[in-house]
Each structure stands twice: as C-alpha cells, then as structure tokens.
Symmetry: C2
Subunit: 224 residues, 2 copies
C-alpha cells in the first residue's frame, strides 16, 4: 500500500470505534490520528477538507478520503473485499439479495437504535467525563424510544442468529460501540442483559477478537 | 419478472416517495400498495413480517423483501444494475471509490439533513393534515440545526455540481422528498431558495422527470 490507512478521531468516540472494529475484522492495518476535539481540531480548515461537517471520524487511504462511519465501513468492505472477514457485506454468491438483508439492519441501527442509544450514552457516560450533569429527562425520553426498538430486536434475534442470518455482518458490527457503552459504561445495561435473545447475541458479538481489540485501544493511555 | 415489484406505503410519505423516485430513475416498473396508517395497517401481523418496526415503506420483488428506504434504494441499484440510470450508486469503472463518494453523502442526508428537516415537515405539513397544531418550539430548534447543515451543503455545492461530483446520484435523490416538502408545502422554502448553490442544485434535481412523476403520483386522488 502506498500510504497507510488512517482513521481520524479519538477511538473512544463510538463512530470512530465502529470504523476501527471494521478495519480489524477486515485485517486491514491502520493508524489512528487522534483529533483533539477539546482544542477544536475537528473544526480546523485541514480537517474540514476531510470532513466538511467537522465531525469524527474521517478516513483516508492511498486511493481516497471518506467520511461518516457507516459509509467508511461499507467502503472498507468493498475496497478490501479480499481481506479478512469476507462476509461483512454479504458473501459474493449471495449477491444483491444478501447485501440488502444486511443493509436493512444497518439502516435500522442508523435510524432507530443509534439516536436514542447515543442520547443516553451522551448523558450518562460523556457528560460526566466532561464535568457536566446528566439531563435525566433526556435519558428517560430516550429510554422509552430505545425500549421499543430493543423489543423488536429481541424478537428478531429469537428467529435469527445474527441480524442478517447465520453470519456475523456489518449489521451486527455497527451496533457494537453504542451497545458496549450501554452495557459497560452506564447503569442501563439491563436494556440489553434483561432481554434473552439480545443477551445471547451480545455475549457472542462482543467476544469477537476484533471488538476486544477496540476495547483495548479505548483503554490504552493516550500518548502524552 | 415473476412477480411485480411492490412498494408498501402511501406515496405522500417522504420515505415511500424516496423509493418511488429511485424505481422511476431505474426504469423498474412497480406498483404501490398503500398502507392505511390511520387504520393501523402498518401494525398488522402481515405487515410486520415485511417491516418488523411497523414503518413504511416496505419493498418486495420476485427475489426478496427489504425495509428502510435507503436500504431499498441501494438494493434497487444493485439488483437492477443494468436498467435505467446506471450511475446512481456510481459508474462501474469508478468502483469502490466512486460508490464511497456517493455513500458518504447518503449518510450525511440520513444523519444530518433528515432529522431536522423531517421534524420541521412533520410540524408544518403533516400535523395540519392530521388536524393538529404545529409545535413552533420544535420548528425553531430544528431550524437552527438544519441551517448549519444547509450552510455546509451550500458551500459544497459551490464546488461540486451534484453531491458526489458531475453526475446525479442516489446522494442527491435521497434528499428530494424532504427538500420538496420544505420548498412546496411549508413556509420555510427560504432555507433552500435563499442559498445560491443549493437553489441551483434544487432547480436541477427537482426538474428530473422521475421526481416530477413522483409529485404527480402524490397529487393523484386516492382510489376510494
């Protein structure tokens, strides 16, 4: 490879962790370029060329730059099709139908799971890190929304081993960062652990070596 | 084709209109199966088999079923690759890089443009249709968020003809339903028409035959 694959953003960010998990599943070597958001580096002119909204992550390889975590994950699967886990966006022989079975659950994560889970995580995990008080009315409102989504998930995962059938895929992977925060960094673990099928799924997907490596990266002390 | 392509949901719904626009661009014949949400048909057991969250649209062809509008659009482009507009998810010769340039803006629409624009549309267009009063505090909060997104869009569209370069793509198409509602069914048209590059883009994309056909379908009297 002419230039290393670079992911811009702190790996503690759920969206950055999503991309890191994908690269690890695909066995694509990469480096993290931490963007210090407390210093406003995500709004610098050079970063805005990579990500016009000034959000993390951004991504760069020897061929292109991409922003938005789920778009980056799709690109990694398409561009590095022959590396690592080759079923993340569907097996070749399953064609467009196989990919769609995955894409519909990536979209469910993006549209239905992410907004309420991220709102809860922000209040219960990130606000304290930033020295702010959690807004419990926001937590409660979003718990109501998230409960409805998780009820559907639990029922679905009673019929299907993973979101898109018998193989772990990007549909499962995109859920990992927020689910991990809920279970391990808030007092709302029960949203997942009190649902039988969701727990069976969570125990499986969170034990994958790629995800355990992301957790390790999140825990490592930042270079000073 | 063994069975007709069917889109489930009322075409007035922005997400249903998104799928209809895609099918028309791809020149794939289809039928609309209106789901009467006022009668709770979207929560019926047969509909929940197509769409486990009880939302519109759902999609069915001779090969599979798919839910979530953006996942359905991707499937249509992948499965019916040789029909109609063949650049919607990138030209074949542009490979993964070309697709990623489109995917990142589909995600920008999904993550940044859709939430605030849909909230405004709901209050200013759908609430009155349902005999409810608009909550102007929701409109104002979301106008602040949407303004920031549209400022980025306007700058970007000053440098690029369409969201992903020189060709109309799914990145533009996914924006059409909400943008059309804002311009033509609320008093917030200025959010788009007072921005020079966004207006140039809007005049172009909203004049496409496929979109004009969707507008015609939305205006047609419902069969009684």
């Amino acid at each position: 490879m002419a230039a290393p694959v670079t992911v811009y953003g702190p790996v503690i960010s759920p969206a950055v962790a999503r991309v890191a998990a994908c690269l690890l599943e695909k066995d694509v070597p990469f480096q993290i370029e931490p963007v210090d958001m407390s210093k406003g580096e995500h709004k610098s002119p050079s970063f805005l060329k990579l990500q016009p909204f000034g959000q993390v992550p951004a991504f760069k390889d020897h061929l292109t730059t991409v922003f938005e975590s789920r778009a980056i994950c799709r690109y990694i699967c398409d561009q590095y099709a022959d590396r690592g886990n080759q079923a993340l966006l569907g097996k070749k022989e399953d064609g467009a139908v196989g990919r769609a079975a995955i894409e519909q659950w990536i979209e469910a994560e993006s549209q239905s799971f992410n907004p309420p889970s991220l709102a809860i995580i922000f209040q219960l995990a990130f606000a304290p890190m930033m020295g702010r008080t959690a807004d419990m009315s926001v937590v409660e409102q979003n718990e109501v929304k998230l409960t409805k989504v998780l009820d559907v998930y639990d029922q679905w995962l009673g019929e299907s081993q993973y979101f898109a059938g018998d193989d772990f895929s990007l549909a499962d992977l995109v859920h990992l960062p927020n689910a991990d925060f809920l279970v391990n960094r808030t007092n709302k673990a029960g949203l997942i652990t009190e649902r039988k099928n969701l727990t069976r799924w969570w125990d499986d997907v969170s034990a994958r070596p790629a995800w355990k490596k992301v957790i390790q990266m999140q825990s490592a002390p930042r270079p000073s």
